[in-house]
Amino acid sequence: MTTDVADRDDVAHRADRVRTRRRGGLETTQWVALAFAAPLLVYLLGFYVYPLLRSVDLSVHDYTVRAFVQGDAEFVGLSNYREVISSPLFGKAIMNTVVFVGGSLIFQYAIGLALAVFFRSSFRLSGVLRALFLVPWLLPLIVSGSVWAWMMNSESGVVNFLLGIVGVDPINWLTSPDTAMLAVVIANIWLGIPFNLVILYSGLQNIPEDLYEAASLDGAGSGKQFWSITFPLLRPVTAITLLLGLVYTLKVVDIIWVMTTGGPADASTTLAIWSYREAFGTGRPDMSPAAAVGNILIVIALLCGLLYTYVQRRQEES
C-alpha cells in the first residue's frame, strides 16, 4: 500500500515540479500541502512526542506525589532503570511476557489459519458465519475480560461446570498461580482469532485457484495441497500477521488487568501490567519506576516494529 502511493506520487511529483518551475520557482504546492498537513504535524508533536518526552522525563527523575504537583522532582539519571532491571520481578515479568505473547500468537495463528482454510470454499451460510466470527474482536476488551472472569470463576463458573461433566476436578483458574497465566492466555487467544482469520482469509483469496486444480489432477490430497501450496504461498501474510500480533500483544493491559490484575503472586504480570500497576494500580502511584518499565517495553515494541516495516518493505519489493 505504501509503495503504491509512493510510485504514483513519484510520477505526479515530477510533473508537479515542472509545473511549479514554470510558474517561477515558487513551490506553491508544497506550502499548500504543508498547510493541509499542519494540524496532523501539530497533533503528532503535542499528543505523541510531548507525552513520550514526559514519560522519559518521569523515568529519569524521582517523582513522588508531592513532587508531581510542585514540579521539583530530583534528577536521578538511570537509577530507576537499574532498580527495575535488578528487581526480582524483572526476570519474571519478561518470562511472563514471552509466555503470554508466544502462547497467544501460536494458537491464534494456528486456529485462525485452520478456520481460514475451512471458510475458503464457500458453502451455505459461510458468509454469515464468517461475519459472526468477528464479534469477539469488536467487543470492548473490558466486556470480554469480565465475561471470561465470570466464566472462569472457581465456584460458579460455567467452565468448571462443563469440565465437571467430563470428570475434571474444579480448577481455580484465576486464583491459583499455576493456572492464572493459562487463563488469560486462553481469553486472549479467543480475542485474537478473528483478526488472524480475517487477514489469513484475505491472504488465501490471493492464491490462484488453478494451482489447486493442477495439484488435484496430479493426485495430491488436501493435506499435501495445504503443505505444498497454501502454507508456503501464505508465508508473507503469515509474517505480517504474526509481527502485527506481536506488537499488539506486547502492550495488552485491559484483559489481564480485569481478569487477574497480574496476580496471584505476580503469576500473570507482564511488562505492560507491571508498568500499569506501579503507576495506576495501587493507591500510591509510583510513576518513575513505572515509566522506566514502560520505556523498556517501548524499546522492545519498536524493535519489533522495525522488523515489521523491514519485512513489509522487502515483500513489496519482491
Partner: protein, 272 residues
Amino acid sequence: MMHRRPWWKTVLGVVLTALMLFPVYWMLNVSFTQTGNLRSSPPHLLPLEPTLEGYRAALAQQLPNLGTSLLIGLGCVAMTLVIAAPAAYAMALLHLRGRGTLNFLLLVAQMLPAVVMAMGFYAIYVRMGLLNTVWGLILADSTIAVPFGVLLLAAFMAGLPRELMQASRIDGAGAWTAFTSIVLPLSRNSLITVSLFAFLWAWSDFIFASTLARNSALIPVTLGIYNYIGNNTTQWNAIMATAVIASVPAAFLLIAAQRYVAAGVTAGAVKD
C-alpha cells in the same frame, strides 16, 4: 468443490461458530438470570426464568456513563476526521514532501503501548488541570484512531483518478475547493469506516479512562463496568447486563455497517 456446497460443512461451520460465540451467549444468559440463581449449581444453561432485574439495575446506575461514552466517542470521531482527512489529502494528492517519513512515523505511533502514553498524558494533565475531564479523555482517546485514519484515508485517496485533481488549479483556494467539493465526497465510504472505528475504539477504551478520568464525575461505561466488578461481586447479572448494553455499538457495526468493517480490517490491518 465450490459448486457442490457440501451440507456437512455448513453443520461444522455452525458448530464452530457456536463454540466461538459461547462467551457472548453466556453474557446474555447471565444478564437475564435472577440474582438468587447466579451461584446455583449446576448453573442455569438457559434463561428459562428470565428477569430484567439486571437491566434495571444496570440502567439505574450506568445510564449517565453510557451518555459519557457516547459523548467521548463522538468527540473522538470529530477530532479524528478533522485531523486525518486534510493530512491524508496532503499526503496522497498534494505530494507533501517527506510523506514517506510521515507514513513511517504513523506506523510507529500505532505501536506505542497505551500504558506509556497514559503516563505521559497523566503528567501533562496534572499540570494543565485536564485530569478527570471529558475533554481531556477525548484528546487522549483520539490518539488511538488518528494514525489509522490518516493511513487508511491516504491509501484510499491515492487511488482517486488523477484527472479530477488536475482539473483544478493547485493554489491555496483551488486545493481547498478540490478538497471539499471533490475529494471529500468521493471518500465518503472511507470516511465512514474511519468514523466507525474511531467511535468503537474510543467507546471501548479502558486504559486512558482508568488512568486519566478515574475520579471524574463523568466516567465512561467501560470504567463503570470495572468499578462495578470491584464494588459488588454478587450482582453479576447487572454487570453482564451493562456489558450487553456496552456491546451495542459493536453489534450495530456488525449488522448495519459490515462492509465498512471489512474495509477497515483489510486496508488497515490494525487493531489496538
